[in-house]
Symmetry: C2
Subunit: 280 residues, 2 copies
């Protein structure tokens, strides 16, 4: 069902529990068998693990679960190819350096007829619409700002460029520079913010539960964002259609949303995706 | 002893045998205990595996050995920190996109007082002289060429920029875009080209042997480049001091070397490295 998974926290946290449910959707409980990728920020460094094998049976995914990498910002993606061959070069997340920072991007959707001119600063290596959109986004930011602007200015510029890009089609995405995580919903994206008092969570895709109170401190705050809720006993919040949100330190710090917000039902979201040729 | 390892082949080949000897130098048979990294090109895609744990005991290095990733171009690096904290962000190899290709770079050496101005196109994320040199090299290439020039022009431009950079100190490095691998020796770099008839090779660092004739075809050609020879029963060739070489399809296609070539003995090379504060 799910293609995107993100995490933003105020303390380095491992994503093993969420990833466990997520990876099963990559070829076992769902049909996303065309590779997967996960990017972990450790400070401003990025660890990118990718595989063109199905996530459910990938040895790289095994490493993610065994190694319990702690990170403040994570973006993961399970791929069902729509454009571009199944190949490592087309596997999300994509990484580029902008203003001396690594930026990480993953996309769930399908942008049709989006063929921008070659960039001066950023160009895709593979053949996906997603990498092209990412490069276009960075190109526009770099063209407008020689140096990184203030966070609010940056966010509103990203919102502008996103509004331009989503005219081409489905554009659910996540973007992070290690300090914050930006999420955009064309159709379906849900999030949960976990903080004290921590409780127990049960995965939707598997008979696995965790008691977060045993593995956290009272100061921890963790936002998890996913295409569909990963747990069945917690209250996930939904992003509105065309809403853009910036998470930092495990909470929402900036939002851009058309008023009044409109929400898509899961059924509608899946139907839109099918119509666009995107597997959700 | 060894810090850099590269491979360039005419057919996707796994580097497990060479990596086995190499990784033992990362904290077990030598003192390079400050992390390691290895980049595999698969076509024009890059798989980058890094760890800030010692290579000899790293679960990421275990994955490299178990997964037997096949690649036409590989660059690996074991780190003994000279400049910059031990942190993922400072772990080689470094990756950037130039002209719609991923470029991978790893450095063994120490460039003192090299503080270039901020780049228009490329800037370091971490704090090493190595990443700074890589960004400077790419910046110079991009400033001179809007589009990728012919291979000979590219090579000679890299040679020019390299000559400028090595004035700052020890600059053994490897660079690849997936089509070719460029190696530069300030002091010690050795290579071997394996082709039919393939024989048996025995690792220097460990009691392990391989019979390449059992795992190759008669058309395979594999160049392996390393700071010091990895096997004890084969004839490795040495790069001359300040020599720059481009390997492609498992053979040398371009060379830039001051005539007559001068070679450094292993003893001299180790002494120079110690003096520069670089562990070899």
């Amino acid at each position: 069902m799910c293609q995107l998974l993100g995490m933003d926290c105020n303390t380095p946290t491992d994503i093993v529990f969420s990833f466990e449910g997520f990876r099963l959707r990559g070829g076992l409980t769902d049909n996303h068998a065309d590779g997967f990728g996960i990017a972990f920020f450790e400070g401003h460094g990025v660890r990118l693990l990718q595989d063109d094998k199905p996530c459910a049976s990938s040895p790289v995914a095994d490493l993610v679960q065994q190694y319990k990498i702690k990170s403040e910002n994570v973006i993961a993606h399970i791929r069902k190819a729509t454009q571009g061959q199944v190949h490592l070069v087309n596997t999300h997340p994509f990484v580029r350096e902008l203003w001396g920072e690594y930026w990480v991007f993953a996309h769930n959707g399908n942008l049709r007829r989006f063929k921008p001119a070659g960039g001066e600063y950023f160009n895709p290596v593979g053949t996906t619409d997603s990498e092209q959109a990412f490069c276009y986004l960075l190109e526009q930011l770099r063209q407008r700002f020689r140096h990184k602007p203030a966070r609010e200015v940056l966010f509103h510029t990203v919102a502008e460029i996103t509004a331009e890009l989503r005219q081409y089609g489905l554009f659910n995405y996540m973007l992070s520079n290690g300090d914050w995580l930006i999420a955009h919903a064309s159709t379906l994206l849900f999030y949960i913010i976990r903080q004290a008092p921590f409780g127990k969570a049960v995965l939707t895709d598997e008979d696995v539960a965790i008691d977060f109170s045993a593995v956290t401190t009272p100061h921890d705050r963790v936002a998890v964002i996913a295409t569909l809720p990963l747990t069945c006993n917690e209250q996930w919040q939904q992003l509105a259609i065309n809403e853009l949100v910036m998470f930092s330190q495990g909470e929402i710090v900036l939002r851009d949303c058309i008023q009044p917000p409109q929400y898509m039902s899961v059924q509608e979201g899946l139907a839109v995706a099918r119509k666009a040729g995107v597997s959700m």
